[in-house]
């Protein structure tokens, strides 16, 4: 078993608890154990905090990292926004003495110190990583293959970009997420401009919802054009933007899509035999039933 401190963030545990439940259960079936990271907070939101004062963003994210350092465990997480804060701040502070000293001065006030002793991973990259899990283990864990459905992969922004500060390679047309979908028996579809942002980030969802939804709407048009039965992503904030966003798009622009939006962990959960109730899919704004009827 590979053990990780499970950093939850906000939207997964507090809006889509199925993402949290499925992460814990699905990972265990492929040799990954997620341990609670007690006392963790918001990552903090890179858009809101980073925009106001980057120094607070560094210090707050560092506090979350230090909690895992104290457990002597690497962090695993399931949200691109959290990845931006936790992965990036960990990386920056490891390599920038001046910023690290500044952060440690503040952390000393609460008897903490950033040491730079752990690494941060997105659960999706651990699933793909042959050394930890890999596609074969994912495939072998599937008991209910999701045959007969087309799924559009939304990679999101902050997992892979900026490319030079990450390790995922190509950010124009990556294919690893499609491979993860294929491993569940579903058919990944290609669609126009698939790397485009969901529209929610940078505080824009809160600042100008119509602007954010207009970006989301463009994405939805492209997803529908490809005939997708569902969208999958690895970020609960993108999930919220596509899922609740479709209701808001209907209200604001009159466009209707009704395309269910599922986190990859939720899809994997279904493929491993978890029931829709085990995943709290009824909390999704867009009804997942038509999709479920096709696969179950």
């Amino acid at each position: 078993m590979h053990e990780y401190a499970f950093f939850l963030g906000c939207i997964a545990p507090n809006r889509y608890p199925g993402c949290e439940a499925s992460a814990i259960k699905t990972s265990e079936k492929v040799g990954i154990k997620l341990l609670p990271l007690k006392g963790a907070s918001c990552c903090p939101a890179p858009g809101a905090f980073g925009s106001i004062d980057l120094n607070v963003w560094y210090a707050m994210a560092a506090r979350n990292v230090v909690l895992a350092e104290e457990m002597k465990k690497d962090i695993a997480l399931i949200c691109n926004g959290c990845y931006k804060s936790i992965y990036e701040v960990n990386h920056i502070l490891k390599h920038n003495d001046e910023l690290r000293d500044g952060v440690n001065e503040v952390l000393a006030e609460i008897d903490m110190q950033f040491k730079g002793s752990i690494d941060v991973w997105h659960l999706a990259e651990l699933y793909y990583d042959e050394k930890i899990c890999g596609l074969k283990k994912i495939r072998d864990s599937v008991t209910t293959p999701l045959n007969g459905v087309k799924i559009a992969a939304h990679y999101g922004c902050h997992l892979m970009k900026p490319q030079k500060e990450r390790h995922f390679g190509d950010t124009e047309n990556p294919m690893w997420f499609e491979e993860l979908i294929e491993a569940l028996g579903a058919e990944p579809v290609q669609y126009r401009n698939k790397m485009q942002c969901c529209g929610a980030g940078g505080g824009v969802r809160g600042y100008d919802i119509v602007h954010a939804l207009d970006i989301t709407n463009e994405k939805m048009i492209n997803v529908r054009e490809a005939g997708a039965d569902a969208i999958t992503e690895v970020c609960p904030f993108c999930q919220l933007q596509f899922d609740r966003g479709q209701i808001e798009i209907k209200e604001k622009f009159g466009d209707v899509y009704n395309i269910p939006v599922l986190h990859y962990n939720e899809l994997l959960g279904l493929a491993q035999g978890m029931s829709p109730q085990d995943l709290a899919l009824d909390l999704h704004a867009i009804d997942c039933t038509p999709f479920l009827k096709k696969v179950l």
């Binding site: 939850l8 907070s41 918001c42 925009s51 106001i52 120094n55 503040v106 900026p162 790397m195 980030g201």
Partner: protein, 191 residues
């Protein structure tokens, strides 16, 4: 070559002088951005690849290339008072495509930090800070969700600051160190 005259003495003097005029510019602004953004914004040659990659550009007047120019020329007021500053989704498409290896996204973040120092900041950013200050979460738990969590076999509150509120004090100390909550309260009250 003599400069064209418009018969406005002040303008004629300016036009005769082909140097770059600093009257609206603050070179310190450029330096501050370079430091905070940790990117080589001064290397921008205005190719426009960033704007061409930007999901916000086709649906607004927001032009990231324009902000890059304002950064290089030190046009502080123009940059910080433009409401478009807050339309960047931080998607980093421009950053991955910039042929000069600049991170325009981080220039925007640095500008937003500087705008905040002048109390220029949209409310929703401050409200998120207040929520985190009070609960540790930007998106806190609620009763519907607690019921759903319990049904899933999860604890009603996640093992974060929600279950361990003793950690909130540390978070407040960090935020107070930078005076952020105080400023957020003050700015929101003034609105």
């Amino acid at each position: 070559m003599a400069a064209k005259t418009y018969n406005i003495p002040e303008l004629d003097t300016k036009l005769a002088d082909r140097r770059y005029h600093l009257t609206d510019a603050n070179p310190e602004f450029t330096q501050k951005i370079l430091k905070t953004s940790r990117t080589i914004a001064n290397m921008c040659y205005q190719c426009g690849t960033c704007t061409g990659s930007c999901p916000s550009a086709p649906r607004s007047s927001y032009r990231i290339r324009l902000f890059m120019r304002r950064c290089v020329l030190g046009l502080e007021d123009e940059a910080l008072t433009d409401p478009d500053l807050w339309l960047c989704t931080t998607c980093y498409s421009c950053t991955d495509r910039c042929p000069r290896d600049i991170a325009p996204t981080d220039v925007i973040m640095a500008m937003r930090n500087l705008a905040f120092l002048r109390d220029i900041v949209p409310k929703n950013f401050l409200q998120t800070c207040q929520l985190i200050y009070n609960s540790g979460h930007g998106v806190p738990n609620n009763d519907v969700n607690r019921a759903a969590r319990t049904k899933l076999g999860l604890p009603a509150d996640p093992p974060t600051t929600h279950s361990y509120p003793e950690f909130i004090k540390g978070i407040q100390k960090i935020i107070d160190h930078y005076g952020l909550k105080e400023n957020a309260d003050r700015i929101l009250k003034g609105d």
